[in-house]
Symmetry: C2
Subunit: 244 residues, 2 copies
Amino acid sequence: MNFVRKILKSRSEKDGAFFAELEDILGFKTKRKKIYKKAFTHRSMNKKDAKGNSVNYERLEFLGDAMLSSVISAYLFTEVPSGNEGYLTKMRSKIVSREHLNELGRDLKLIDLVQSRIPKDNFGENIHGNLFEALIGAIFLDKGYKYCERFIHYRVISPYVDIERLEGKVISYKSLLIEWCQKEKKNFKYDVYEDTGNDELKHFAVKLFIDNRVVGKARATSKKKAEEKASKRAYFAFQKQIST
Amino acid sequence: MNFVRKILKSRSEKDGAFFAELEDILGFKTKRKKIYKKAFTHRSMNKKDAKGNSVNYERLEFLGDAMLSSVISAYLFTEVPSGNEGYLTKMRSKIVSREHLNELGRDLKLIDLVQSRIPKDNFGENIHGNLFEALIGAIFLDKGYKYCERFIHYRVISPYVDIERLEGKVISYKSLLIEWCQKEKKNFKYDVYEDTGNDELKHFAVKLFIDNRVVGKARATSKKKAEEKASKRAYFAFQKQIST
C-alpha cells in the first residue's frame, strides 16, 4: 500500500513539474491535462488507449500544422494588404518552414518534456518542430482557436516574424541595431560565452546590453548566429523607437 | 439631384437583393458588408481601394482555403480517432479537392452573385471553388473562427462528407438507397427531366420520391450523375434509419 502510494506520489510530482514547465512556456493554465501529456508522448512509448488507438503526438502534429497555417494566414492577410495570393502563400511557407519550426521548438526546449524510450540524442532535428506543432494542436483542443491564435502570436509572430526580414530587405539585425545605438548615442555590448550544456554540439550564449541593461538573450551554435538572434529579439523590443 | 438619388436607390436595391440571397446561403446575418462584396468581386472589375490595393476575391481565397483546411482537420481529428497522420492528410485532401470545392460552389450558385466584366460563360470551372473559398475567408473576417466552423459543418461536412464514402467503401448511393427501400417496402421513383436553363451544357434535374414525398433533388450534366447526387442527399436525410 505504501509502495503504491509512493509510486503515485512520485508520478504526481513528476506531472507537477511537467505542467509547471509547460505552463511557463504557454503563458496560461492548462485544463485538459491528458491532451498535453499526449503532445509529449513519443511513439516509442507504444501507448494505446482503451480502444487500441495509439497515444502519441503524431496526430496532434496534423492538427497543429493546420492551425498554425490558418493563424499565420490570417495574420499575413491583415498585415500585408498589398500582397497578392501568391505573395501571401510564399511568405506563409517561409514562416512555417520545417527549419523555422525546428528553431522554435528548440528554443522552447520542448524536447526536455518528451516521454520516450529512445535516447534524446537519437532524435533527428525534426522532433523540435514536430513537438511544436503537436503542442499547438493540444492548445486548440484544450482552449479553442482564440488561445491557439494568442499563443502563436506570442511565441511565433511577435518574436520571430518580420515581413521585411522575410522579404530579404533586412540583412542583419545586428547592423541595424548598432546603427541605431550609434545614432542615439547609446552604449551597447555583446557578452558572449560558451554554453554547451547537455548538447552534443558546441553552443554559445549571448547577452546584449544596451546602456548596461540586458535587452536580448540568445543561444546558438555559433557566436555570429547567437549575436544575430539576440539582436533580432532586441530589435523587436525596441521596434517602435527604431522605426520612428 | 433626383438622378443621383435614383442611382443610389437602385444600387441599394441591388445590394439588398445581393445580401438577401447571400444570407440565405449563409444561414446568418452579415455584419461587415464590404467584405462580402469583395468576396464576389472578380479581378476584371479592376477595383482598387484608397491605397491602391486591388479589391477582388483572390486574397480572400487564400484565407478561406486555410480556414477550410483547419476546420476539416479538426473534424477529421475528432471523427477518426484511429486514423494516423497520413490517413488524416489523405482524407483532408479528398474533402478539399478542387473538384469537390467546385461542386460545392456550383451547388450554392455562388456565380450568380459575382460582379465581373467577363461574361459568366467565359469563366473556367474553378471559379465555383474559388468563390466558395473566398466566401469562407469573408465569414472568418466578419464573424470569426466559430462561425466559419459552423458554416463549414452546415455546408460542407453535413451534406457531403462521409468517411465511408471517402474511403471508397460506398460505391453508389443509388444502390444503397434502392436496397433500403426494397427492404423497408417503400416506393421510390426518380423523376428526371431536362433542365439546361442558362447553361451551355445540357443539364438534367432529378427529384427522388420515396412514398410519394420528395426526399432529394439534384441537377447535373448527366442523368446518372443527377440521380446519384439526389440519392446521396436523400441518404443523408435518412442516414440514421438506413444505418440502424
